[in-house]
């Protein structure tokens, strides 16, 4: 019994250690997000063919990605130092930061709820989502060398 408890707690520790670096976790989420938006943008620009089913799958993936974006877990206090471009405003104005993220999530959800039937509809949705990317990166990210 005792061995089992130790084994479980060791497993739990290993599990949490695997996700112990919030900087790496949030960067992975942002990379994935960029890749999905990039794929959608290619369709919106007419570089890739429009396929309503494939577009919806991508939008759903974007929603799943956005729902994983837990600000408290990914941006704990102290994670502003190191190999990160997260700006100080994230911690100075966490409420504002969460509000921008919420707006983004609601725009993604709206796109999933009313999937685009053609390229023009997708273009409008990608435009709104892209504007959210910019709004957040305007104030909450600091470009470094």
């Amino acid at each position: 019994m005792r061995k089992l408890v130790v084994a479980i707690s060791m497993l739990a520790f290993a599990g949490s250690a695997a996700f112990a670096d919030p900087i790496i976790d949030r960067q992975a989420l942002m990379k994935e997000r960029g890749k999905i938006v990039g794929g959608l943008a290619k369709v919106a620009k007419g570089e890739d063919a429009f396929d309503a089913g494939a577009v919806l799958t991508q939008l759903q993936a974007l929603q799943a990605n956005a729902e994983k974006f837990d600000v408290d877990a990914l941006f704990p206090k102290g994670s502003d130092v190191g190999d990160t471009t997260a700006g100080p405003k994230i911690w100075e104005d966490t409420v504002g930061f969460k509000a921008v993220e919420d707006k983004y999530l609601s725009n993604v959800k709206a796109a999933v709820a009313a999937p685009p039937a053609d390229v023009d509809a997708l273009k409008a949705q990608v435009g709104a989502i892209g504007s959210d990317c910019g709004t957040c990166h305007q104030g909450y990210r600091v470009k470094k060398g």
């Binding site: 892209g130 990317c133 910019g134 305007q138 060398g145």
Partner: protein, 315 residues
């Protein structure tokens, strides 16, 4: 001790000559009539393009404004720089708090020459070292467009600058070093038209070099590192290298640059950030031809390595 007296006398005379010379050399000078006659009648619909190319709203709208509020040019942003805090003023059509009472000559003197209607030097935080390269007719068009925008009452706070930067007269000497209405990049006579058109947009109204070029100790842009990127003047972080040198845009095609200016997405699907977000929103208002011209010019500028120090390893 006679020699000491002579030396002191000479120093006083030299100092006096220097002061008098400095006073003369630093005097604000208004544009001459030959330039003002080139202004012409002005066309508001053409001026709208100049307004967005020039990015007036990025600094002169109330900070954080979205949509139509960006046309309310009430000022108030705080640009915190090593020289002190600059506050872009109200340039709405309010006759008292804004520039509603300015003539087109007044606007030309401010933009091409950095001189206010009352005959004082303006601080180059207002990017007239770039605007000085603009065609007078574009200033007249811009003037006509500004006239169509709302009057908004309310004065922005004054600049808050330390000594000696709080002495406006000193800007006269600075202008002698750095104010030049000639193009920065010499393009070959065989350069394609878009690159030449793009040079005008980038070096003139677009004033890209004001943030993307490193500055020397006196705050002048280093023309030998034109557009090489720089440490941000108004906060933490850097402004990227937009030449094709190491660290810059070599891997971006002209189409990539034009698309970024239109949509805000980089070729790797990162998004525009920082102060560039407002700039990109302005660039999206231009025509595809103008954005392509900017891209053509950026591909034609001499390549430079990054104009900012390499990132320190994480500590």
């Amino acid at each position: 001790m006679a020699w000491l007296k002579k030396l002191a006398g000479a120093a006083i005379v030299l100092g006096g000559v220097g002061a008098a010379g400095g006073w003369l050399l630093s005097a604000p000078v208004k544009l001459d009539a030959a330039v003002l006659t080139q202004l012409g009648p002005g066309d508001a619909s053409k001026g709208k393009r100049i307004f967005y190319a020039g990015g007036c709203t990025s600094c002169h709208a109330k900070p954080g404004s979205q949509g139509d509020a960006r046309l309310q040019l009430v000022g108030g942003l705080q640009l915190k720089t090593p020289f002190g805090t600059f506050v872009p003023p109200n340039i709405s059509q309010d006759p008292k708090d804004g520039i509603g009472a300015w003539s087109v000559d007044d606007l030309a003197n401010a933009m091409l020459n950095g001189v206010s209607p009352s005959g004082e030097h303006l601080y180059p935080a207002f990017p007239y070292p770039s605007y000085a390269r603009m065609k007078p007719s574009d200033i007249a068009d811009l003037y006509a467009f500004l006239k169509t925008l709302p009057a908004v009452a309310g004065k922005a706070p004054d600049n808050s600058l330390g000594f000696p930067f709080n002495i406006r007269r000193g800007i006269g000497l600075w202008k002698r070093l750095y104010l030049d209405n000639q193009p920065v990049v010499a393009l070959a006579s065989s350069a394609p038209d878009p690159a030449v058109a793009g040079r005008y947009l980038v070096e003139g109204p677009g004033h890209c070099g004001e943030c993307h070029t490193p500055r020397d100790f006196a705050g002048g842009t280093k023309k030998g590192e034109w557009l090489a990127g720089a440490v941000a003047a108004d906060g933490p972080g850097i402004v990227p290298n937009i030449t094709s040198g190491k660290g810059g845009l070599a891997s971006w095609s002209e189409a990539d640059i034009a698309n970024y200016l239109e949509t805000g997405f980089t070729p790797n699907f990162d998004s525009v950030g920082g102060a560039m977000v407002d700039v990109q929103r302005n660039m999206a208002e231009l025509t595809a031809g103008d954005r392509a011209a900017i891209a053509a010019y950026l591909k034609a500028v001499p390549p430079h390595p990054n104009g900012y120090p390499a990132r320190k390893p994480a500590s």
